[in-house]
C-alpha cells in the first residue's frame, strides 16, 4: 500500500542521485571546456588515447566517488523522492539542451 506521507528516500539514494545531478551537469561543462581549450583537449587525448575515453572514465569515477561521499556526508539527510526526481529531470534537460546549443552555435 502506497503511503503518501512517506515520500522520503534514503541517504544512499539521495547521495547517488545528487551525484548524478552534479555529474550530468559537469559532463556538459567538461565538453564545453575541452572543445574551447585545445590544451585541455590535448591533455585528455593524451591521458587515455582518446578524449572521449578519458571523459567517460572521469564521468563514471566522479559518479561513484561523489555518490559514496554524498551518502556519507549526510547520513541522516533524506530528501523527498519526487523532489529528487525533478532535480534529475531538470539536470538532464539542461545538460541535453546545453550540448545541442553548444554544438549548434559554438
Amino acid at each position: 500500500m502506497l503511503n503518501n506521507s512517506n515520500s522520503s528516500v534514503s541517504a544512499t539514494t539521495t547521495g547517488f542521485s545528487i551525484a548524478a545531478v552534479v555529474v550530468i551537469l559537469a559532463n556538459t561543462a567538461l565538453v564545453v571546456a575541452k572543445e574551447t581549450s585545445s590544451s585541455l583537449h590535448d591533455a585528455m587525448q593524451a591521458a587515455l588515447g582518446h578524449h572521449w575515453t578519458t571523459q567517460g572514465v572521469i564521468v563514471i569515477l566522479a559518479f561513484i566517488i561523489l555518490g559514496f561521499v554524498f551518502a556519507q556526508l549526510w547520513p541522516k539527510r533524506e530528501m523527498n523522492g519526487t523532489r529528487v526526481a525533478f532535480l534529475l529531470a531538470g539536470a538532464t534537460i539542461i545538460a541535453g539542451i546545453g550540448l545541442v546549443w553548444f554544438f549548434l552555435f559554438a
Binding site: 542521485s17 550530468i24 559532463n27 523522492g81 519526487t82 526526481a85 534529475l88
Partner: protein
C-alpha cells in the same frame, strides 16, 4: 569486426531501452511479489547500457575517423559537427542514469514509498527518451555516410 560492432551496439542499446520499459511497467505495478523482478530488470538495464557504451565507444574511437571524413566531405556535414558530437556526449548522461537505476531500486521500495516510485519512473522515462534520441541520431549519422558516399 567493424561491421559487427557497428550493428551490435545499437542492438544492445535497443535491448536496454526494452529492459527500461520493463522496469517502468514493474514500477507502475510495484508490490512485494515483483520486487525481485524489478531489481533484476534494473540490473539488466545497467549491464546492457554499459555493454553498449563499451562496444559503441570502441567503434567510435577505433573506426569512426573514416566515416567522419566521409560525412564532413558530404552534404550532411552537420551530422558530425552537431549530431555525432551531441550523441557521443549525451550518452554519458544515459549511462549515469542507467547506473543509478539499480542503486535506487536496491535501496527503496516503490510499493510503499510514493517518492521512490516517482523517482524510479522518472529515471526510467529519462533513460528511454535519451536513449531513443541517441538511437535516432545513430540512424541519422548512417544516412549522412551514405549521402557522403553517393556524392
Amino acid at each position: 569486426m567493424r561491421e559487427l560492432l557497428l550493428m551490435v551496439h545499437p542492438i544492445t542499446g535497443a535491448l536496454a531501452i526494452l529492459a527500461t520499459v520493463w522496469v517502468f511497467v514493474e514500477t507502475l505495478n510495484a508490490s512485494e511479489r515483483n520486487r525481485s523482478r524489478l531489481l533484476v530488470g534494473s540490473i539488466v538495464v545497467a549491464v546492457l547500457m554499459s555493454i553498449t557504451g563499451v562496444l559503441g565507444g570502441y567503434w567510435y574511437v577505433v573506426y569512426y575517423a573514416a566515416d567522419k571524413a566521409i560525412i564532413l566531405s558530404g552534404a550532411w556535414s552537420f551530422a558530425h559537427t552537431l549530431v555525432m558530437e551531441t550523441k557521443e556526449h549525451l550518452f554519458f548522461v544515459t549511462l549515469i542514469l542507467s547506473l543509478l537505476l539499480p542503486i535506487i531500486v536496491r535501496f527503496e521500495d516503490p510499493a510503499k514509498n510514493r517518492g521512490a516510485k516517482t523517482l524510479i519512473l522518472m529515471i526510467s522515462a529519462l533513460i528511454v527518451l535519451s536513449a531513443f534520441a541517441i538511437e535516432g541520431a545513430g540512424a541519422f549519422i548512417s544516412m549522412a555516410v551514405r549521402i557522403g558516399l553517393m556524392q
